[in-house]
Symmetry: C2
């Protein structure tokens, strides 16, 4: 099946009990696993969890004893300074593995918040090492996911460090659109975009007001539409060039 032909359910009700009937694995976005590995994942897993939009998946500054795979919905990682300034570090989509960065956490960690209703597969952290030992392949996959995650943070760092307002917004829109597309969340050219302008501002390191003005400006130029929680890209080339940001061709990723 080609990626374009796949449509993820926007809100699958729940991560199902046996991983064998996982709806996510049907997607061509993910590498196939052997039956043996699937069983290992199943026994690594410790149930599932639902989090409402706007509620924390992992509290900041509190080490979590759990790891997660985001099963459906949107979430994001963030950090706040002591006076409340917030920086969004990265966005999370179905298939993303959450919490490795906290391994041997030393307290000063990030928070994770649900942007939509979110369902998660839950894994106890203390089973992580046993998983590596018994299933090195899955350990390797987790490393791969962690490395990919870091690359995204690298990109965001370039954005906040060296891009101007227009470039930042262009880059962010393209990034989120492409990722949603890959996760099979596109519907007739639109993808769900459950973030308000404060989220965008916090992600790209601008003030709320300036984010608004920049967004408006791009929209008036006809590069994108953002309406009622849905995003449509009208001029992908223009936005990519403006943001000096080009997503690489699609490649399937591991799914734990």
């Amino acid at each position: 099946m080609k990626l374009e032909d796949y449509s993820a359910p926007v809100y699958p009700p729940h991560c199902p009990h046996p991983c064998e009937s996982c709806e996510l694995r049907g997607s061509p976005a993910f590498n196939p696993v052997s039956l043996d590995e699937l069983r290992a994942i199943q026994s690594f897993r410790d149930g599932s969890r639902v989090v409402e939009a706007g509620r924390p998946v992992i509290e900041e500054h509190r080490a979590s004893s759990q790891l997660f795979t985001l099963y459906s919905g949107w979430a994001f990682r963030f950090k706040t300074l002591s006076d409340g300034r917030r920086q969004i570090l990265s966005f999370l989509l179905p298939g993303d593995f959450i919490g490795v960065q906290d391994e041997f956490s030393d307290g000063r960690t990030h928070g994770v918040e649900a942007a939509t209703l979110v369902t998660l597969c839950v894994f106890p952290r203390d089973k992580l090492w046993p998983l590596f030992r018994s299933q090195p392949r899955l350990g390797y996959d987790i490393t791969w996911l962690a490395a990919r995650e870091e690359k995204m943070v690298d990109d965001n760092l370039v954005t906040t460090g060296r891009r101007n307002a227009m470039e930042r917004v262009a880059m962010l829109l393209m990034h989120l659109y492409r990722r949603a597309q890959r996760a099979g969340l596109e519907r007739d050219g639109w993808v769900e975009f459950p973030f308000n302008q404060q989220h965008i501002a916090d992600a790209i390191g601008l003030s709320l007001v300036h984010t608004n003005k920049t967004l408006r400006r791009l929209q008036r130029l006809g590069l994108h539409k953002l309406d009622g929680g849905w995003l449509r890209i009208l001029e992908p080339k223009a936005l990519e060039t403006l943001g000096d940001y080009f997503e690489r061709p699609f490649r399937p990723t591991p799914l734990i």
Copy 2:
């Protein structure tokens, strides 16, 4: 041995041929390994390499077929936009593992440049998976290192996204000082600081001139001294508070 009592040779000549006589492993900064693991690392390794200050360890945009452990010296990871604007992503010190982020690299990658004369242990990338398979513990360690690296990038992202100039400089100075200290590079309260103001500017996302002025201002306040390539922190508390950045207590890390 306590960390304070350990002094790394500032420039060990070279990563020695048998890992058994590795000078780095003497440091309390690193977890001990079993003889078995040490042998595995030895056979994972494929020689060593020396890179002059200012020369690339990994070229940007070129996928490297090698992984490295930084054995001595300072280096940094960076990315550049197409018009030349550069962002330094993170700094590398002895013991840091280089190149996992490129695993399954898709082209758009970071570069790594030596800031001093640097020596490296070299590992062929295609032995990474076999290492995971035969030594899951070392795979786990590599994941741990990758996770730690991402946490540092997270911090830098908060800096460029949400801190002002004074806070940025304060945070960076403390961060680099503490890391150097942990690596045993402190000498009478001074640590080697092989970066010019352009490096600092590129790391914290400011212009060269403004970085200079901010650095000057902090120095005039008596918070630090920066002279002849060496850094001394005079008021650690003040700098930590100013930067709203507090390094966690020391904990040994894996060394591959």
